[in-house]
């Protein structure tokens, strides 16, 4: 059922790509911007506490709900303003960024590892292995990432480890499908038969010959899925079942600000805009990678 459902838009998307004559590639300025934003975010996240002007949980009751510096009432001491407890928003944004990136990249790593394994096994062995694994994938599709996460967190509670795994479980199916389709395409090629004829075992063929062929689509899909993972983390933290206070994440900062939208919208806007700029930049890079590395296939992201 869902098998055909997923396959249809993929092939359709693929044939919709216009093949243009190859010329020297012109990289759009938006892509450069995106790279600058992502590298800056990574650097900020790695440096974290070292560059944050205040400790992220340092409370100041006289400095509550300040707007950003450039607005009336703001002060140079708190560049992006403060929240309802007088905590510096810039410092919290810096630390929250680290949490979001960790969850985003960590979750995608888990998803890629799991999905690639499933894809390799089902594409290589076909038969009942494929049927069982693809049935598991269908079952996963019936439970959207958020709901699956709700189920797991209801049982195990929330910690960053659980969160990363849950995000990975939420988005692995795309990797499994893409890797499987690549493996099915190349498994009967001559280099695989050659490897088999000189006595290579299943594991050798899968790891040394099939896996390398999947690397490009995996990288493309991973880049496209990072925004999904970051969004998932932010959503869960926003719901109060992700990263727990006092540790800031972009999601729980937005949730914190909800009650003060009329007093100081910036407490919400700062993390919200940060989140949008981050996901927009990563997905811009993902789209760009898709067009240069994988022009023939539209790696659709459906969950």
């Amino acid at each position: 059922m869902t098998e055909s459902a997923i396959a249809a838009p993929r092939t359709a998307g693929a044939s919709a790509v216009v093949v243009r004559p190859r010329r020297r590639r012109h990289v759009e300025w938006t892509v450069w911007m995106a790279f600058v934003v992502v590298l800056a975010a990574l650097a900020t996240a790695i440096l974290g506490d070292a560059i944050a002007p205040y400790p992220y949980s340092s409370v100041s009751l006289t400095q509550r709900l300040l707007p950003p510096m450039i607005l009336a009432g703001g002060s140079g001491a708190h560049v992006l303003g403060t929240d309802a407890l007088g905590r510096d928003l810039l410092s919290r944004l810096i630390v929250g960024l680290r949490v979001s990136l960790l969850a985003g990249f960590g979750g995608v790593l888990v998803a890629a590892a799991l999905g690639t394994t499933v894809g390799l096994l089902s594409g290589y062995f076909r038969g009942w292995v494929e049927n069982v694994l693809m049935m598991v994938a269908d079952v996963k599709l019936a439970l959207p990432g958020i709901l699956l996460a709700i189920g797991v967190i209801a049982v195990l509670g929330s910690s960053s480890g659980v969160l990363v795994v849950v995000i990975g479980l939420g988005i692995w199916v795309g990797f499994a499908r893409v890797v499987r389709s690549v493996v099915i395409r190349v498994r009967n090629e001559e280099f695989v038969m050659a490897a088999r004829s000189i006595g290579a075992g299943d594991r050798d063929i899968i790891v040394r010959h099939l896996l390398p062929n999947c690397v490009t689509p995996i990288i493309v899909l991973a880049t496209l899925e990072v925004p999904t993972a970051i969004t998932l983390e932010a959503s869960l933290s926003f719901l109060g079942i992700g990263i727990q206070p006092p540790t800031p994440s972009l999601g729980n900062m937005i949730a914190d600000g909800r009650g003060y939208l009329d007093l100081n919208p910036w407490q919400t806007l700062v993390p919200a805009l940060g989140l949008i700029i981050l996901t927009l930049s990563v997905s811009r890079i993902g789209d760009w990678l898709t067009t240069i590395l994988d022009p023939a296939s539209e790696t659709g992201t459906i969950h």
Partner: protein
């Protein structure tokens, strides 16, 4: 369909046993061990896992989905009472997403180089990178806090429906635009479209009567997947707008340690997805005579 449903049930069963001790989820901290033991026996959790699984399946077959610890009655009833609120939200949101998504998709495919199309595609890409709850907060900020046009949450008045529906639709629309546009671009390159144009048909007749019909099948699939998965987005939208549906129930049940209710919501969500997609498969047969022979 049945296999997928069985898979969902099994997955939910396994989820519940992840921690090894489901009772720990249900009792407040500091409960005397003797009481825990009694509850464990009452729930059959002292029997081996396969026996528990058989009981679980048997219970579901008889419509027994466990009892809510907070409400002290059937967890299924508790969850089902919230279904209409969620369904209301999902149906309106899907309708909005389909109207906007298909219109924008078709129009931008018909005139891909106009500035309006470029703007629409740019907006769709930006929207795809914006989490639904952030969009919802923007709506609250502008429509409720700044302009004081709409209430910030709750359910009852038609006005309270606007922001939750818009937010839920916002998540589904960019994908619909993308797929519709890709399908239409593909279809418009076909020979019969040129023939239609050559025999003097108007643009709108070509677009909607000829091309759109042929492009519609994959779009229907995506609509099915989106609608089936809408309960995920509903959890967020309902929390944001205090909309008393199943998603909000699931979140509050986690905080209340009412696991049977969470479990019921997951089962209903999985069933919803499977039913919607089965309906889509049947719609396929009606829309495409070729698939009847296969």
């Amino acid at each position: 369909m049945v296999v997928t449903l069985w898979g969902v049930v099994t997955l939910v069963f396994l989820l519940g046993r992840l921690s090894g001790d489901p009772v720990a989820l249900m009792v407040p901290e500091g409960t005397p061990p003797a009481d825990i033991e009694i509850l464990r026996h009452q729930l059959g959790l002292d029997s081996p896992l396969p026996v528990q699984y058989a009981d679980f399946l048997g219970g579901i077959a008889h419509g027994d989905f466990g009892r809510s610890i907070l409400y002290r009655r059937s967890a299924l009833d508790v969850a089902l009472e919230r279904l209409p609120a969620t369904a209301e939200l999902a149906v309106w949101a899907m309708a909005l997403a389909v109207v906007v998504g298909l219109t924008v998709g078709v129009v931008t495919a018909a005139r891909p180089n106009s500035w309006l199309s470029r703007l629409a595609v740019f907006l769709a890409v930006s929207a795809r990178a914006t989490p639904g709850f952030v969009f919802g907060i923007f709506l609250i900020l502008f429509l409720a806090v700044a302009l004081r046009l709409l209430p910030t949450g709750g359910r009852g008045a038609p006005l309270q429906l606007i922001m939750p529906v818009a937010t839920l639709a916002f998540v589904a629309t960019p994908t619909l635009i993308r797929i519709t546009r890709a399908q239409m671009l593909e279809t418009l390159r076909q020979e019969y479209v040129r023939t239609a144009r050559a025999k003097g048909l108007g643009t709108s007749a070509i677009l909607w009567r000829h091309a759109f019909k042929n492009a519609s099948l994959p779009i229907v699939t995506i609509i099915g997947i989106q609608f089936g998965a809408m309960l995920g987005g509903a959890a967020i939208v309902e929390t944001l707008f205090a909309w008393p549906g199943m998603g909000l129930l699931a979140i509050s049940s986690i905080n209340q340690r009412d696991y049977p209710v969470v479990q019921c919501v997951l089962l209903l969500a999985g069933t919803w997805f499977v039913l919607v997609n089965t309906a889509v498969d049947m719609a396929y047969v009606m829309l495409d005579p070729r698939s009847r022979r296969a």
